[in-house]
């Protein structure tokens, strides 16, 4: 079996092949094979229930029982092997309605959902938001991510980078739609927790109240476990509280979403550092059956340049952000240089501006193009007046009497280096100069603080200084201890931590119930198949992604108020309607192919369907040439393209987008719809060579038959 192919479809095709070749002559084997075929068909088309796979296995056993019938036995053996090898894939088809290989057409997932580290069912919730069903949307999101509001404001949005709409114009603003729905649901009191499972009678201890730890706590609490969270800081949230500044993520957002966890019975112990205030043995004696470590990566890397340790004005960005988040508002100094090019560097620089520093410069070794920081944030920082000094390598911190007065830098040039995809900065000889500075802030990355884990001597660590885990189950080298978040991945994103926490919760549940752990990473679950929102092609094309309103610059430089002011309700509903519903349209391009190559009409201009070579797209031009024959709809495997007679019109729709609507012509005799005039003209033109049709005699196929029969009676020999 080729790697890209799905074992479910593979098995179906195998049975087809055996039967087609006449390989099953014994009626009993043939009947069993056909039954297996129909059950597997249900699996591949998302109709299977819990009983399907056990039934298939039982039928395979039936085939294997009769060794006197070699054809059936061989088929049974082949299927048995496939099921043994890929049992998890079969099960995941049933439970997730998702075939990540995109082989099973009905179960092909949307790219946005596959891009999300937490696997949120994006098309479903976007559609719900488009219909104003915010609370339902939040319910859908929280099945995979307990923090839609937080993520709606700060997510790095891998989904939007994969958004198919981006190939047409700009991606759907998936990230912010979430925040709007969460805020609306919270304000209306419809942001609710799902039903909690029955009490399992076991307790789990989560160390670290960041996004990873809290996600695991949420899903474990829902499964009915007692969860206690230890946190070294005086507040919950971890990096989203002390790493992300308040002007990007207001504290209330975190507090309200964390409060939802407390409602589920999750308890917290703040100011409690693992390894200092409590040890593993103490916790074990308190009766916890499993442990989950999501301690994050809070320790800054050293710059490793002379002078670094000599001055109190050398600050670690992560330390500064933490202190400011916890309430400190002291200006670090007048002239600030931040070293680094990531989001933390930008956050530190913008925070310094807000603390009153008149001159803030970010020094980065490479150019703007290579900066790992989010582009929008770099732009926002520039708007606020942060200076950038690119191709700058810090060499030495210089000063006198315990006071910094400058940073010695070397200019760099970028060189392509073998084995590295990024250009490497190389110092230019003799280009040293001094950048004036009172404060130097280092933001060149963080690592996991291994000190607090001192008493876990058997814990394995990776070469990068992160906790070594099985990435499928998040199990560490110690039984009963799981880990996720930055502590495992190194400094990463909120959504990755959430995904890891969710995976860990699933694995902890299995561990405590004694169920074997999965071998294959979990597949995102398609939660629903929501009906598409109908709107005309012109509207679908014309709606533009709204621009985000920003707080005025003066206030951005002086306060920690939220910078992005959000969309209005109208903007949100419109924006959600731009979604192309890639969970339904799998972009196979059959419709375009048939219209162009088979029908010779070329009405569909949908270049966005081709991932590798996207061409121009205009949904509006369809109606110019389309004759509404319905060949595209008849060949669409997923019912994404639909043709429908409604009243006196025929409508052609792609995922709710009305591509064409034409007035129908009806049968003169029975009144049945015969298609629009354009369609009938097309046929008339083609049959002109055969015969002339008298105009006006428009009768449908059924009436034509009856009419001929009557005529025949009349001409029967008397």
């Amino acid at each position: 079996m080729s790697v890209s192919q799905c074992p479910v479809t593979e098995s179906i095709l195998f049975i087809d092949d055996v039967i087609g070749k006449g390989g099953l002559t014994h009626p009993r084997s043939r009947r069993i094979a056909e039954e297996i075929h129909s059950l597997l068909d249900d699996v591949a088309w998302g109709r299977a229930g819990d009983d399907h796979l056990p039934a298939v296995l039982a039928l395979i056993q039936d085939l294997l029982q009769d060794a006197n019938e070699p054809e059936g036995y061989q088929l049974g053996e082949h299927l048995h092997q496939t099921m043994q090898l890929h049992g998890e894939v079969f099960e995941s088809h049933v439970t997730t309605h998702n075939c990540p290989t995109e082989t099973c057409e009905w179960l092909t997932p949307a790219p946005c959902q596959m891009a999300c580290p937490a696997g949120i069912d994006v098309p479903t919730y976007v559609t719900l938001i488009g219909q104003g069903r915010d609370a339902e949307a939040i319910d859908v999101i929280r099945q995979d991510n307990p923090f839609p509001w937080v993520c709606g404001l700060v997510c790095t949005r891998p989904c939007e980078f994969m958004c198919v709409r981006g190939r047409m114009d700009t991606p759907v603003s998936i990230k912010f739609l979430k925040a709007f729905a969460a805020e609306r649901a919270m304000s209306e009191g419809t942001y609710r927790n799902p039903e909690k499972g029955p009490d399992q009678g076991k307790r789990v201890c989560v160390i670290g109240a960041g996004p990873g730890g809290l996600s695991a706590a949420y899903y474990l609490a829902l499964k009915g476990y007692g969860v206690h969270v230890l946190e070294a800081l005086p507040t919950a949230g971890g990096m989203i509280m002390v790493g992300i500044p308040r002007y990007r993520l207001p504290r209330e957002v975190i507090d309200r979403e964390v409060a939802m966890l407390e409602e589920l019975g999750v308890t917290f112990a703040f100011n409690t550092r693992f390894g200092e205030d409590v040890t593993l043995d103490e916790l074990k004696s308190q009766g916890y059956s499993a442990f989950f470590f999501a301690i994050g990566a809070h320790k800054a890397y050293n710059l490793g340049i002379p002078g670094e340790a000599d001055f109190p004005q050398t600050v670690e960005a992560i330390d500064l952000l933490r202190r400011v988040a916890l309430g400190e508002r002291r200006m670090p100094g007048k002239r600030v240089v931040v070293i680094g090019g990531g989001n933390v560097a930008i956050d530190a620089a913008r925070t310094c501006l807000r603390l009153g520093c008149p001159e803030v410069t970010i020094a980065y070794r490479r150019t703007r193009h290579e900066m790992p920081a989010d582009e929008e944030e770099v732009e926002q920082a520039e708007e606020e007046g942060v200076h950038f000094s690119f191709l700058t390598i810090p060499a030495k911190i210089v000063g006198k009497d315990k006071k910094i007065n400058g940073l010695r830098c070397i200019r760099a040039e970028l060189v392509k280096r073998e084995g590295s995809s990024r250009m490497s900065p190389v110092p230019v000889l003799g280009s040293e100069y001094i950048m004036d500075a009172d404060v130097v802030i280092s933001a060149i990355g963080q690592k996991v603080d291994q000190l607090c884990m001192g008493d876990l001597e058997t814990m394995d660590w990776t070469r990068r200084g992160t906790i070594d885990v099985n990435m499928v189950t998040m199990e560490t080298s110690i039984a009963g201890i799981f880990a996720a978040g930055d502590a495992v991945t190194g400094p990463a994103t909120v959504i990755e931590a959430i995904g890891g926490g969710k995976r860990a919760a699933e694995a902890i549940d299995r561990y405590l119930l004694g169920i074997p752990q999965p071998q294959m990473p979990p597949v995102p679950v398609r939660r629903r198949r929501e009906a598409c929102i109908e709107l005309p092609a012109s509207t679908k094309t014309v709606i533009k992604r709204p621009t985000m309103d920003m707080l005025n610059l003066d206030r951005r430089r002086t306060t920690f108020q939220q910078v992005e002011l959000g969309y209005t309700e109208n903007m949100v509903r419109e924006e959600a309607r731009r979604c192309l519903r890639c969970d339904i349209c799998r972009r196979c391009g059959k419709c375009v192919e048939i219209c162009r190559d088979k029908m010779g009409i070329s009405a569909l201009e949908m270049g966005y369907l081709d991932f590798d070579h996207p061409g121009p797209t205009d949904l509006r031009v369809t109606e110019e040439r389309c004759i509404a024959c319905g060949a595209c709809a008849a060949n669409c495997p997923n019912d994404a393209m639909k043709i429908e007679d409604r009243g006196d019109e025929r409508l052609l729709m792609l995922c709710g987008t009305i591509l064409n609507r034409q007035k129908l012509v009806f049968c003169n005799s029975c009144g049945k719809a015969m298609g629009p005039m354009k369609y009938l003209d097309y046929i008339r033109k083609r049959t002109k060579s055969v015969t002339q049709v008298p105009d006006g005699a428009l009768i449908c196929d059924n009436c034509a038959r009856t009419k001929t029969a009557r005529f025949n009676v009349g001409t029967l020999p008397a």
């Binding site: 048939i594 088979k598 029908m599 010779g600 024959c629 319905g630 060949a631 008849a634 060949n635 015969m674 298609g675 369609y679 009938l680 097309y682 046929i683 083609r686 049959t687 060579s689 055969v690 015969t691 449908c700 196929d701 059924n702 009436c703 034509a704 038959r705 009856t706 001929t708 029969a709 009557r710 025949n712 009676v713 029967l716 020999p717 008397a718």
Partner: protein
């Protein structure tokens, strides 16, 4: 016209629809398409008695088929060897132009496959020297299938009979 002729002796037909059932069973068709169809005409009062006629309507396999002309994909074809008009399912895209073009409503829509199906005189059976499915099952033996030249004899015999016994008439 094809080389074949499917003759229905309307005097014998009692409208049992067995031909339709057999046709659909043979082609494994879902609800909807009827490749051949018995159409009841009447009843009408003839000489004080109600009389009905049952007309068998398969495809006529025209000499110059409209459906073949209408088909944009070349799926609808006329077999050069014997003139049978049939659909190649691999080429059919389901645009339904043939259905609209046929003046007799012969091509039918199969909603399960999203393609057109039509009477092909069961060409696979004919090629094996068998009769079309509908003919094999006709309870009154009113359906006859054969070469056009053989069929004229039946008509002639029948006509001779009607002429001989004047109390019988077709309607």
């Amino acid at each position: 016209m094809s080389q074949y002729y499917l003759f229905q002796d309307t005097k014998k037909c009692i409208g049992c629809h067995a031909c339709e059932v057999q046709c659909k069973a043979n082609k494994n068709l879902p609800i909807g398409p009827r490749l051949c169809q018995i159409i009841q005409v009447g009843p009408k009062m003839i000489g004080g008695l109600p009389r009905a006629a049952y007309i068998f309507m398969p495809c006529f396999h025209c000499e110059n088929p409209w459906c073949v002309a209408a088909c944009p994909t070349g799926a609808m074809q006329q077999r050069s060897s014997d003139g049978i008009v049939f659909v190649d399912h691999n080429l059919c895209v389901g645009c339904k132009t043939c259905i609209s073009a046929c003046p007799w409503g012969a091509p039918q829509w199969n909603p399960e496959t999203g393609k057109v199906v039509k009477c092909d005189y069961c060409k696979d059976r004919v090629d094996q020297g068998l009769n079309p499915a509908c003919v094999t099952t006709c309870t009154t033996h009113c359906l006859k299938f054969g070469k056009v030249e053989d069929m004229t004899q039946i008509r002639r015999d029948r006509h001779a009979q009607t002429v001989a016994s004047l109390e019988h008439c077709a309607f």
